[in-house]
Symmetry: C6
Subunit: 79 residues, 6 copies
Amino acid sequence: MSEQTILVPNNSLITKTPEEGRQLAVKMARLTIKLTQPDAAIREKLRPVYAEDANMLISIGQTVAMEFATIAQANNHWK
Amino acid sequence: MSEQTILVPNNSLITKTPEEGRQLAVKMARLTIKLTQPDAAIREKLRPVYAEDANMLISIGQTVAMEFATIAQANNHWK
Amino acid sequence: MSEQTILVPNNSLITKTPEEGRQLAVKMARLTIKLTQPDAAIREKLRPVYAEDANMLISIGQTVAMEFATIAQANNHWK
Amino acid sequence: MSEQTILVPNNSLITKTPEEGRQLAVKMARLTIKLTQPDAAIREKLRPVYAEDANMLISIGQTVAMEFATIAQANNHWK
Amino acid sequence: MSEQTILVPNNSLITKTPEEGRQLAVKMARLTIKLTQPDAAIREKLRPVYAEDANMLISIGQTVAMEFATIAQANNHWK
Amino acid sequence: MSEQTILVPNNSLITKTPEEGRQLAVKMARLTIKLTQPDAAIREKLRPVYAEDANMLISIGQTVAMEFATIAQANNHWK
């Protein structure tokens, strides 16, 4: 585990817009994977595995939906 | 990854009706998959895979349910 | 994808009772599957697949639980 | 599908205690499965399948946790 | 099914501390499994199956996270 | 099961920043696994299994997202 990995970019859940909030959700999901598998070469090798697997693409979508729910709440849903 | 992919159509979670909120949930779920697999040809090839697989159809349903929960909250459940 | 598919019956999350809310959760879960697989013949072919598979029956149960959580919140849990 | 299946016993999410709320969560999870697979003989055949499969037992646990979250909220967590 | 199985220890979601709340989450997750598989001998046989399977260990972690979310809310997050 | 395993470090969900909240989410996810599989040697053996499996990396990401949702709520999303 690389304790150095930043897990929350800018150390904040607050974003200006829903679009930026969604990008943050994607980044946070990726940073957890980076923490769990710090070796960039292995992560690179796994990329085509999940990007061409319908099941994993769906699972990644669920992860982003979960992260986004928290970010949206933090931003009062940008209302 | 295509940084250009729009992740939240119209950059807003607010919709006029539950039906439109549900359509937004479906679109947002698809846009995450587009971001993860930007190659339209590969996505097209995967479509019949999940559309004829009972297990994946259920998983897609769960993703839409998750996205919709956040959108419904953003819209105060259209009350 | 059939853009014509209605995703939220009556375009409302409000129901008179928890029982009707639960029925709505089941319908909404099915309508997402109908949107993803608009061919009724294929859906019909898949029905016995998931209805006789313990794992998929459980997954369907989870989808309904998720949809119901949102509907219950929309109805202030019918309190 | 048996439209007759009751999905929410007593048509209410309100229970006197957490214990009764948890029992309701278990019942609601089972009633969704009954709705999806109305044939009691098939459900009976599937019971030993999931009751002796570690993975499915865990999935059932997740379903109950989801149902219970909604019931607990409906009861203001019995505070 | 053993109707006698207690599902919520002490019939309460309230705990003094987050640590005790987390222990309650673990217990509640286990009690659902006990309800679904009341035969202690079979449960004992399944233990090494999931305890040495990375995938199931992760799934158990998700179940505990779900139970804990509800317990934390019941305790106003011990603030 | 090792009853001694601490499940919530510092017995608190409160953290100074989102970054620390995310680190707590990761730790809590790992501690549940430690409780379920107390044998460090077996956990060590399982590490490369999930760290090189795209599907499990995604599942771990979902667990962290779930834990983080609760921690973020406990901290009022650090607003």
